[in-house]
């Protein structure tokens, strides 16, 4: 009996103790728990659906669809596959939200919109609801997409409205959709449409200074109304204007709002905007217009999505500063923790050009920080930290894991290329990139392709293919070219083709980032944007190792 008691006691207590020890050991090793990565292609950055996808859906928010509009809206749909496809395009009409009026006002002249304001009290925050009536639904249009081709579709052909967006539903994957806005006075900008509707959008850069207009275009493609708040970060701190509190975007509509209108953000040289969607999901584009009459004589128009998901690393393949070209890297921290950020500049030809010391900046929650190149505060005799006339790429990375959003702005007063270009960086690297827009007209329009090798160890070999008249065109001298590890290459496409309508596909054997610059030669117009990765083998770069 004594033996069996001891045996059973030993085994039972051993099992129990073993389990508890195992549990304790497991607690001390929390690394086993995987945290879902929020940065995915298609969400953090527009991405083409992979092969075999049943459908792919694109949301093109910003632009006008009426004569004399501020930004004529054109859709650019590229089908680089071997199969004909069909796209169903549903235009969504919209209008500008009326500017806020004096606090007691409850009516506007616009019968289609109302603005109501509740006076603040001591116990509750003042709330403002801006609503615009939902537009009449527009019947969808079916568009054929022949293989290896690009289709352009003016939204104004589908609907006549002060503002109009579009939903493009394609019966398959591997299709890229961009949109283009053109202002008769301010130029043209091209950028990818979105493949996601999100609940938050971060716009690191924006200018509301005199002579500049910042237009946020909210598109709600869903049946139900959405509401949102916008918080602006300025040099003077955060601002939450009543006009953008509980801002309602009716279901299946587009609403545009000038940030600089009365009741919005005040006139500021730099405004970061954080859009928080209270209910529903939205797509938000920003159209920034400079008339050339601001303090810096900036001219041009930019178009771009915000960042729906902040990331720890943002890569900008292109970069160049000179006497007439300056650059800003705007880092915005939408989170609630302080971000420790490093901005690395990688110069071309590193053997000749020593790497400049990285910029280390601290970005407070809800605030922004700017790295200006060249440094405006440097004295005339100070050697520039980043040399002028040497092309470079930029990598913005958060060192303490706090996700951020980063945008690069290029202001060119160079006589050859005049204008302002802005683009978010790429939070991912991928082997295949699409550009639906673009084209070259000798002496009038130029297109520059810049590729960044996301690998610091291996050479990336790439080829560039154009989609021309239903055929894939391997651009001469752009086949099986190499990019050094961690380096970049910039390609002036006019040296390889003269197609006025040119959608291109970049295919590499390793993860890269592709950026495109569209320039108006001897005129106003710079449009820069990261390409559209194919959602296959997409990698999120490690902020420390990358």
């Amino acid at each position: 009996m004594r033996g069996s008691r001891a045996t059973s006691l030993a085994i039972l207590s051993g099992v129990l103790a073993g389990g508890l020890v195992l549990q304790a050991a497991d607690r001390s090793n929390p690394g086993d728990t995987e945290v879902a990565d929020a940065v995915t292609a298609g969400t953090a950055i527009p991405a083409a659906a992979p092969p075999g996808s049943l459908t792919s859906t694109w949301y093109c928010a910003g632009g006008s669809a009426t004569k004399g509009g501020v930004a004529d809206h054109v859709l650019l749909i590229a089908n680089p596959t071997d199969e004909d496809r069909t796209a169903t395009v549903t235009a969504i009409a919209g209008d500008f939200a009326p500017p806020a009026v004096i606090p007691d006002s409850t009516t506007t002249d616009d019968p289609a919109a109302t603005t109501t304001t509740t006076a603040p009290t001591t116990t509750t925050a003042p709330t403002t609801t801006t609503t615009t009536e939902a537009p009449v639904p527009v019947a969808p249009t079916v568009v054929d997409l022949p293989a290896h081709s690009r289709v352009e579709l003016a939204v104004s052909d589908l609907v006549d409205a002060p503002l109009a967006g579009a939903i493009v539903e394609v019966d398959g994957g591997q299709v890229a959709v961009e949109h283009q806005v053109t202002s008769a006075e301010d130029g043209r900008a091209t950028a990818p449409c979105s493949t996601t509707a999100a609940t938050s959008w971060s716009f690191p850069w924006g200018v509301t200074a005199l002579g500049a207009r910042e237009l946020l275009v909210f598109m709600n493609p869903f049946p139900e109304d959405a509401s949102l708040d916008v918080v602006f970060a300025t040099d003077e701190g955060a601002r939450e204007p009543l006009r953008f509190r509980n801002f309602v975007v009716p279901g299946r509509s587009v609403v545009g709002a000038y940030v600089d209108d009365p009741g919005g953000a005040q006139r500021n040289e730099q405004v970061s905007a954080q859009v928080n969607v209270r209910s529903g999901h939205l797509v938000v584009d920003r159209i920034q217009i400079f008339g050339g009459d601001d303090e810096d004589d900036r001219e041009g128009i930019t178009l771009g999505l915000g960042a729906p998901v902040p990331a720890e690393t943002w890569i900008f393949p292109d970069g160049y500063i000179s006497e007439g070209i300056r650059q800003q890297l705007v880092v915005f921290n939408p989170s609630e923790a302080v971000a420790e950020v490093e901005v690395e500049i990688r110069l071309d030809d590193p053997e000749t050009n020593p790497a400049p010391e990285p910029f280390e900046i601290t970005v407070l929650p809800g605030r922004f920080a700017i790295v200006e190149l060249p440094d405006p505060l440097a004295g005339p005799d100070d050697p520039p930290r980043v040399p002028l006339g040497v092309a470079h790429s930029s990598i913005v990375r958060s060192l303490n894991g706090v996700p951020i959003a980063a945008e690069r702005v290029v202001i060119s007063s160079d006589g050859a290329t005049l204008g302002v270009g802005a683009t978010l960086g790429s939070p991912v690297i991928a082997p295949t990139w699409y550009f639906a827009g673009g084209g070259i007209i000798e002496g009038e329009r130029e297109e520059v392709l810049t590729l960044f090798n996301g690998s610091v160890d291996e050479i990336a070999t790439f080829s560039v293919i154009g989609l021309v008249d239903g055929q894939p065109l391997a651009l001469p001298d752009l086949q099986d070219r190499e990019i050094p590890p961690g380096g970049r290459i910039s390609l002036r496409l006019s040296e390889h083709t003269d197609r006025a309508s040119l959608a291109i596909v970049v295919e590499a054997d390793g993860p890269i980032v592709a950026e495109r610059g569209l320039y108006r030669v001897n005129g106003r117009g710079i449009s820069q944007s990261i390409g559209i990765p194919l959602a296959v083998d997409v990698v999120v770069p490690d902020p420390v190792e990358g």
Binding site: M1, G3, S4, R5, T7, S8, L9, I11, L12, V15, L16, G19, L20, L22, Q23, D26, A36, G42, T43, A49, S53, L54, T55, S56, T57, T88, I167, E169, D171, G173, T195, T196, A197, T199, P221, F222, P223, E224, G251, S279, G280, H281
Partner: protein, 1069 residues
């Protein structure tokens, strides 16, 4: 036989012995297989000093004729032999046939020995007191100084009130002549003319309480009943002892009721009946709570026995009416006020083999004994507390209903609807299939009818009622240990383990079912193993455990498993797992004998359960079935804190330090137990540890297969610990005295304290009246869905964590499941969904397409499936009723929010509801000239806008049958899995069927007219179901015959030790 008439002229003051002729007395001795004492008894009667006594011996068909023995002991006695044994009363009535002219009858059992002056004293007292019935003082045969009875009173419900304590020392303290309601039936002097007038004894009462009947009837006739204690009669009480306490009690209950029903006049009976019924009900409740099912059965069968004899009762009442000279109220004055039964309860006398002969007389001595022997009084007290706490803790659930959370869905369907679903060959779950319906539909339908259609009450009983059921099982489990304290400990530990309350709070009905059945299952497994005290292996068999063949154990286990599997299909596997764990425990305890039988019984029982659930079982066995059909889809891995699991803290209850008490209490037998008590403690612990390990591994996602909810996995642990705790108490009583004083005594004290302290959390949890269940549920929030569904049917698609879904579901992804309802919100018929093999899987395919970003038109994909609403629960109940959030994967939320044709519906937090704007009615009319694609699968619906299709066949003709007008050339689309058993007839003409989208049904209408669409169930299915029903009845009948031996308690099949504390009590006496 001539005897002198009663002397009417006897002087008042002269002793009778001086009379020239004493009244003739005939002693009537009814002999019924008398024992060796018979001669002594006859001699004592023959030696009476009464001068005019004759003896008539009525031989009630004794096996050996008594005539020779009578001749030797009482040569002058007459003997009359009967052809059968009609019982004492009827046999004594023979005197009316064969004797004439007697003044008194001295009616005697064959086991009494009166002192020589008894007849004289009785006759003298009869004359002196003008009494017609006179009884003596009965004393014990072997110890005449101990009293047995000196007459007794009676209350209005027929329960006797003894005037002396049985076994009381006779010190002449009760020697006064007094009026009583009844006198001892073993020896009674009754005036002959009265006896004749009332027709003697009531012959409907063969034995027991015949004296009560006689005395009552005598009083109705105006006679006086007295006791003359100077007359001393020794009594062996052989009749009572020879029958056994159970038969005695059962017979008394029947006869008592017959006496009441026959002796009371109409008005008095109307007044007394409610009191009788109330007391009977209280007695039934008490008996059930005390685990004395036979006693409850006795009360019930007393009524059925009498109701079957209504004709006899009518005759008896007529007879009484014929000789009634005194009104009931006069007789009632002689009765005791109040209820003797309740007073007995108050004194702790009920249950100790109580009957007129033994229990009541123990009086105050029994109270002390009850405490000292830890027996019924203690059990009753503990049970009273348990019931009180349970009722207090469940009060809001009982009065306001159990909220529909988790698996505890509403019983919205009528019993008829449930039976129809069971019988039908079409199962609507998902997109429908021809798979067999769960047995539960049939059972719930039948139960619903037995509840008179009160399905809400049925639901309450089947949810919170499972907790007391488990408690009863736990109390009975250690019965064979012969220790009521062990039973009490097992009960206390089992009911204070937080598992059932956490299961209630999280809506895990299946876990409650296993909690209720687990003690019974362990008891059956133990019985099958035959290990002491559940069998004879190793030591003596405990009370109530009879050796049975393995086949009988298998049948018992099979039936219990089958009943449990109705609610929790995975129980078939769990029971085998429990047997393996117990067998492993046997190995650890170095007591492996019987383990193989245990496992064999479990496997066999599982086989029986599977067979009893045919054809439903095929759903889990045929190709295409997945394990998740049995266990439910994988759940999101929950808290893997082993310490919390050890405390059963899988819900609001179980936090430290109180949560550790059960483990402390259960540890005692491992330290002090010996022999089978130690072995069973090790088995209990092994069962618990295996259960904990399974739960832990499942919570951490370490197992390669899907597992049932953690509460289900922990239920065996609860019974394992409770069993160990019970063995600890048994060891305390049996083993501890063998040790010297030391740490073992201290450990025992700690264990006892742990049991007591462990009660605290449950007491605290009882305050809210609902065991932490939310006060509301999602039904009100989603009532608009029910309302719309009533107007136009559609499907609702539910997606989310399986724990949050109020219905049976299928796996979509890790921690993500989906299910459908087709009658609005979920009902009980949606709980068992079986396999999703077939078209139903297309729903998951559609969801996967959306989740992988391949479509933003999920609504269109779901439209042909008739899905109008998509519901994602993120809590068991809406705010503010529940603050517990069950995480919904962000990817799912984002996916659904990104769909262009799903419109969110404004509902309170805890739910996300989308309306499908592309919805197509499940029965839709397709215009002439338009055809639905028959290729391309679900994706073929993507480019189609079918939202404009109008509903078709609007008239609901009953289950799976619709009708309505149709036009030639149009089509009728039916959103159900393709089957040629669906048929559309237009005025008798069969419509051609196509298969749109590769899975649905569409019918081209051949002509204008009235169309009927319906599903034709295969006749084969009806045959199979008939066989299934017969199989259940066969097993039930077999078990009832074998195990219950004709007793009441139909479902006490499992039984462990039940019973026979009565026999223990008898032995104690």
């Amino acid at each position: 036989m001539e005897t002198p008439p009663p002397g009417a002229d006897a002087p008042d003051d002269a002793p009778l012995t001086t009379l020239p002729t004493a009244p003739a007395v005939v002693a009537v001795v009814v002999a019924r297989d008398p024992g060796a004492w018979f001669e002594e008894a006859l001699t004592a009667i023959a030696e009476q000093d009464y001068p005019n006594l004759s003896i008539l011996v009525v031989d009630a068909h004794s096996a050996d004729e008594v005539k020779p023995r009578v001749g030797r002991a009482a040569p002058g006695a007459f003997v009359r032999r009967l052809d059968d044994d009609p019982g004492f009363g009827a046999a004594a009535n023979e005197v009316l046939e064969v004797v004439d002219g007697a003044a008194f009858y001295f009616l005697c059992h064959d086991d009494i020995a009166p002192k020589p002056d008894v007849v004289r004293i009785l006759v003298e007292e009869a004359y002196r007191s003008n009494a017609a019935v006179v009884g003596p003082k009965l004393v014990e045969w072997n110890n005449p100084r101990r009293l047995l009875q000196v007459g007794q009173g009676m209350d209005h419900a027929g329960f006797g009130v003894p005037l002396v304590e049985r076994g009381e020392l006779d010190q002449s303290q009760h020697d006064a002549v007094r009026d009583v309601f009844t006198v001892p039936g073993a020896c009674t002097l009754v005036r002959a003319d009265l006896f004749s007038e009332i027709g003697g004894f009531d012959e409907g009462i063969d034995d027991f309480l015949d004296d009560v009947s006689l005395c009552w009837r005598a009083q109705i006739a105006g006679a006086r009943v007295i006791v003359a204690p100077d007359a001393r009669v020794r009594h062996r009480d052989h009749l009572a002892k020879s029958r056994g306490v159970n038969e005695r009690r059962r017979t008394q209950a029947r006869h008592r009721l017959r006496i009441l029903l026959s002796c009371y006049g109409p008005v008095a009976l109307a007044i007394a009946l409610p009191q009788i019924i109330l007391i009977n009900l209280l007695e039934i409740v008490y008996a059930l709570l005390a685990g004395r099912h036979r006693r409850a059965g006795d009360v019930v069968t007393a009524w059925t026995w009498n109701l079957r004899r209504l004709g006899e009762l009518r005759v008896a009442r007529q007879q009484v009416k014929g000789f009634r000279h005194v009104k009931d109220r006069e007789v009632n004055r002689a009765m005791v006020r109040g209820s003797a039964r309740l007073r007995q309860f108050g004194r702790g006398q009920i249950g100790r083999g109580e009957d007129r002969f033994s229990g009541l007389a123990k009086g105050g001595r029994g109270v002390a004994d009850a405490f000292q022997s830890g027996s019924l009084r203690a059990s009753a007290s503990v049970w009273a507390v348990v019931v009180l706490v349970f009722l207090a803790g469940s009060r809001h659930l009982i009065t306001r209903g159990v909220p529909a959370i988790g698996e505890m869905v509403s019983f919205s369907s009528s019993p008829l609807q449930m039976l129809r679903e069971w019988v039908s060959g079409w199962r609507p779950a998902g997109l429908g299939s021809e798979s067999p319906a769960p047995t539960a539909f049939g059972m719930l339908g039948a139960l619903g009818f037995s509840f008179g259609g009160a399905t809400g009450l049925l639901r309450t009983v089947l949810t919170i009622g499972l907790i007391p059921l488990g408690a009863v099982g736990a109390y009975r489990l250690p019965g064979p240990t012969r220790s009521r304290h062990a039973q009490i400990a097992c009960l206390l530990v089992y009911v204070t383990i937080p598992l059932p309350y956490n299961a209630l709070a999280s809506g895990h009905w299946g876990a409650l079912g296993l909690y209720a059945a687990a003690p019974t299952i362990v008891g059956l497994l133990a019985g099958a193993g035959g290990l002491a005290p559940f069998g004879s292996v190793g030591s003596a068999t405990g009370p109530g455990m009879k050796p049975r063949r393995l086949r009988a154990h298998i049948l018992s286990l099979g039936l219990v498993t089958a009943v449990l599997a109705t609610l929790l299909p995975v129980a078939v596997v769990i029971v085998v797992g429990m047997a393996l764990a117990l067998a492993l425990g046997g190995l650890l305890a170095i007591s492996a004998r019987g383990s193989a039988r245990m496992v064999l019984a479990a496997i066999g029982g599982a086989g029986v359960a599977v067979a009893l659930h045919l054809p439903w079982s095929l759903d889990f066995l045929l190709p295409g079935a997945t394990l998740s059909a049995l266990t439910g889809p994988e759940r999101a891995t929950g808290s893997s804190d082993l310490a919390a699991l050890l405390r059963f803290q899988v819900g609001p209850l179980g936090s430290a330090p109180f949560g550790w008490c059960f483990l402390v209490a259960a540890s005692l037998p491992l330290l002090i137990g010996r022999a089978e008590r130690h072995a069973w403690a090790v088995r209990g612990w092994t069962l618990a540890l295996v259960s904990f390990a399974a739960a832990w591994a499942a919570q951490r996602g370490l197992l390669p297969v899907s597992m049932p909810p953690v509460e289900v996995l922990l239920a065996p642990a609860a019974v394992g610990l409770a069993l160990a705790a019970a063995m600890g108490v048994a060891a305390f009583e049996v083993d501890l005295p063998g040790y010297r004083f030391g740490w073992r005594q201290i450990a025992s004290g700690l264990a006892a304290a742990a049991v007591v302290v462990g009660i605290v959390p449950v007491l605290g949890a009882s305050f809210d009246g609902r065991w932490s269940m939310p006060a509301g549920d999602h039904r009100r929030t989603l009532s608009f869905i029910d309302a719309e569904n009533d107007a136009e049917p559609f499907r609702v698609l539910w997606v989310g964590d399986p724990s949050a879904l109020p219905l049976g579901s299928w796996r979509l992804d890790d921690g993500l499941a989906y299910g459908t309802t087709d009658r609005g919100t979920a009902g009980v018929e949606d709980l068992w969904v079986g396999s999703d093999d077939g078209p139903t899987r297309l729903i998951a395919d559609a969801l996967d397409l959306a989740r992988t970003g391949q479509t933003a038109r999920l609504g269109r994909l779901l439209a042909p499936m008739g899905v109008r609403y998509l519901v994602v629960p993120a809590s068991l109940a809406p705010a503010p009723f529940s603050s517990t959030v069950i995480a919904v994967p962000a990817s799912l939320t984002a996916t659904l929010a990104a769909q262009l044709d799903l419109a969110p519906v404004d509902v309170p937090a805890g739910l996300t509801v989308y309306r499908n704007e592309a919805f197509v009615p499940p029965l839709a009319e397709v215009a002439a000239g338009r055809t639905l694609p028959t290729e391309g699968g679900i994706a073929a619906a993507l480019p189609l806008d079918l939202s404009t299709l109008p509903p078709a066949l609007p008239n609901d003709e009953g289950f799976l049958r619709w009708s309505g007008p149709v036009e030639a050339g149009t089509s009728v689309f039916l959103s159900a899995a393709s089957s040629d058993r669906w048929r559309l007839e237009v005025d008798g003409q069969l419509a051609e069927r196509t298969v749109p989208f590769d899975w649905a049904n569409a019918y081209t209408v051949p002509a204008d007219g009235n169309a009927t669409l319906g599903f034709r169930t295969s006749p084969l299915r009806y045959g199979v179901l008939l066989l299934q029903a017969l199989a259940w009845l066969w097993v039930l009948r077999l078990l009832l015959r074998r195990r219950l031996n004709g007793r009441v308690a139909a479902l006490a099949i499992a039984s462990v030790a039940d019973e026979d504390h009565d026999e223990d009590d008898e032995a104690e006496r």
